[in-house]
């Protein structure tokens, strides 16, 4: 496994989890399972001195080097990497903003297809994450479970039979699991039914957040639904709550889409075609606006109101490459927001077939 200090991936489009090929991938963009773990015999990172942090990072890295992962892995030393590369990894959903903006020894170990990413020295010593396209929580958990076992053979985890896997923050103790799905719910947002999703989530102890942690009227009509509890239920139980509820949200979104098509097709066509038209013609487009317009285009394509060359793959690629760090890393070099907005507009026109 190579230890590197920059992001060497050459494909700007997102990892495999963004391929749009999983079950229900039109609405359930991706599924994610994350496990939080700490080493026995060490303080948690909230209290560890710098030398102990170095020891922890080294122990974890050594252990990861010994694991026989099915895919090729890369170990990226974030303490030495450029901020831009770290921000890029946040945009690719491989690391959290906390890790990107943190200090001291820390790293991420991820697979070349970006389906697996292991954060080292974020809030806990280790956070194993598996991403899958569409609704595939069980598959993501099975894989994360295996990786956790493999790492656990080389490291002694802090664990008590009473409290389970011990974590820095008690909100994660027990299973240490956070399972989540990212949903695209434009019809529910458009018809102002999205608050029912929030209410249903709250009743089932699920957190419902926008793409950037915001509430109603989330950017790009994306919502992340995840378990909030981690202790006192088995991993399977926690997953089954999501597995029971998510298909109901999907069905609800589909129902509202159908109703919109039947009830006011012209308005719907207008919305999605305007979205496409703007992206094909605008000269400056902000990040937020790009996500908003791409959301309308995605809906238009799902409902076959827009031409088929606008594939899920293309839309997912644009969703990824329109983000600030991606633009700077793959097209423009470091730039101010105003210049990025121009380049983002150029990218959109080029990829979506420029209006003449």
């Amino acid at each position: 496994m190579d230890t590197v200090t920059d992001y060497g991936g050459d494909h700007a489009a997102g990892g495999e989890w963004l391929s749009g090929t999983g079950p229900e991938a039109e609405i359930v963009i991706s599924s994610r399972v994350r496990l939080a773990r700490n080493l026995a015999g060490h303080r948690f990172l909230s209290r560890a001195e710098p030398t102990e942090r170095e020891d922890i990072e080294r122990e974890v890295r050594t252990a990861l080097e010994g694991v026989n992962f099915p895919d090729e892995m890369v170990y990226l030393d974030l303490n030495k990497a450029r901020q831009l590369d770290a921000d890029l990894l946040v945009e690719r959903h491989l690391i959290s903003r906390e890790l990107a903006r943190g200090e001291g020894p820390r790293a991420v170990c991820y697979s070349s297809n970006e389906a697996v990413s292991i954060m080292v020295c974020e809030e806990d010593h280790l956070r194993v994450q598996v991403l899958r396209s569409g609704l595939q929580l069980d598959a993501a958990w099975q894989f994360a479970d295996q990786i956790d076992d493999a790492i656990g053979e080389r490291l002694e985890y802090a664990f008590s039979s009473r409290y389970g896997y011990l974590t820095c923050c008690p909100t994660n103790v027990g299973t240490g699991i956070r399972a989540s799905v990212m949903l695209h719910l434009p019809a529910l947002v458009y018809t102002k039914h999205i608050d029912r999703v929030f209410a249903a989530g709250a009743k089932m102890d699920l957190a419902v957040r926008g793409l950037y942690g915001e509430g109603t009227q989330a950017t790009g009509d994306f919502y992340q639904i995840s378990n909030q509890k981690a202790l006192g239920r088995s991993e399977d139980e926690l997953l089954s709550t999501l597995n029971d509820l998510v298909p109901q949200f999907v069905a609800y979104e589909r129902k509202v889409r159908d109703a919109l098509l039947k009830g006011d097709r012209a308005a719907l066509e207008d919305k999605v075609w305007r979205g496409l038209a703007l992206l094909r013609a605008a000269r400056t487009v902000s990040s937020d606006e790009a996500l908003e317009l791409l959301s309308a285009v995605r809906l238009g394509r799902n409902l076959e109101l827009l031409p088929p060359e606008l594939t899920t793959e293309l839309l997912n690629e644009l969703f990824m490459t329109a983000q600030p760090a991606h633009l700077q890393r793959f097209s423009t070099g470091e730039q101010e927001p105003k210049e990025r907005d121009i380049h983002r507009a150029n990218l959109m026109r080029k990829k979506l077939g420029e209006a003449h």
Partner: protein
């Protein structure tokens, strides 16, 4: 959009708090104000908990448990309540009495059922394997549309999960036992961490 607090800097921290009853409150702050107000950090979660759910059984930071210090990392309980983060695995033993009601609030439960590490042979690990087997069988029954048998199996699964919870609770004797049981992995090795 601008920070709701200082109205000068751009808001980069966005939180939606779902309070009791399903109502939502949106908070948009810049990084400086968010840090100052402990929003979007574990501290934010902790202050929500202590503010919104005052409980007579819960130890107050200023009383006895507040001064309790971890024998390994010296974290004082009152500081934990402030920061929302524990200092080391031993903290879970030392602060167990105070943690239990807190965990009850956060998770609705206070003992772990579910996976255990490989080298750990325990009730938890056995329960986990059995649960996995039964869930797979349940899925097969559902796929075959054998709903009657599936319902029976689902009840068995729920029974197993409840039993696992009870067994886990029962195996916790007194706070002393929990602290010195061999189940807590290597918590006495933290001496070398202080070097």
């Amino acid at each position: 959009m601008l920070c709701q607090s200082c109205k000068e800097r751009q808001a980069t921290v966005h939180e939606t708090e779902i309070v009791a009853g399903g109502d939502m409150r949106e908070v948009h702050l810049c990084e400086e104000c968010a840090n100052a107000q402990n929003v979007g950090t574990p501290m934010g979660v902790m202050s929500l908990l202590s503010g919104a759910f005052a409980h007579p059984a819960e130890p107050d930071a200023s009383s006895g448990p507040g001064k309790l210090a971890c024998s390994s990392c010296q974290l004082v309980y009152a500081d934990f309540r402030q920061q929302g983060r524990l200092g080391c695995p031993t903290c879970y033993d030392v602060f167990a009495d105070a943690l239990d009601p807190l965990l009850e609030k956060i998770h609705g439960q206070r003992v772990h059922i579910g996976k255990a590490p490989g080298r750990f042979s325990s009730q938890a690990r056995l329960s986990h394997r059995r649960v996995v087997e039964l869930r797979k069988r349940l899925q097969r029954l559902i796929d075959d549309e054998n709903y009657e048998e599936a319902a029976v199996l689902r009840d068995e699964l729920h029974g197993l999960e409840d039993a696992a919870r009870e067994a886990a609770s029962a195996s916790i004797q007194t706070p002393d036992d929990a602290g010195t049981s061999e189940d807590t992995v290597a918590s006495d090795d933290l001496g070398k961490a202080e070097g």
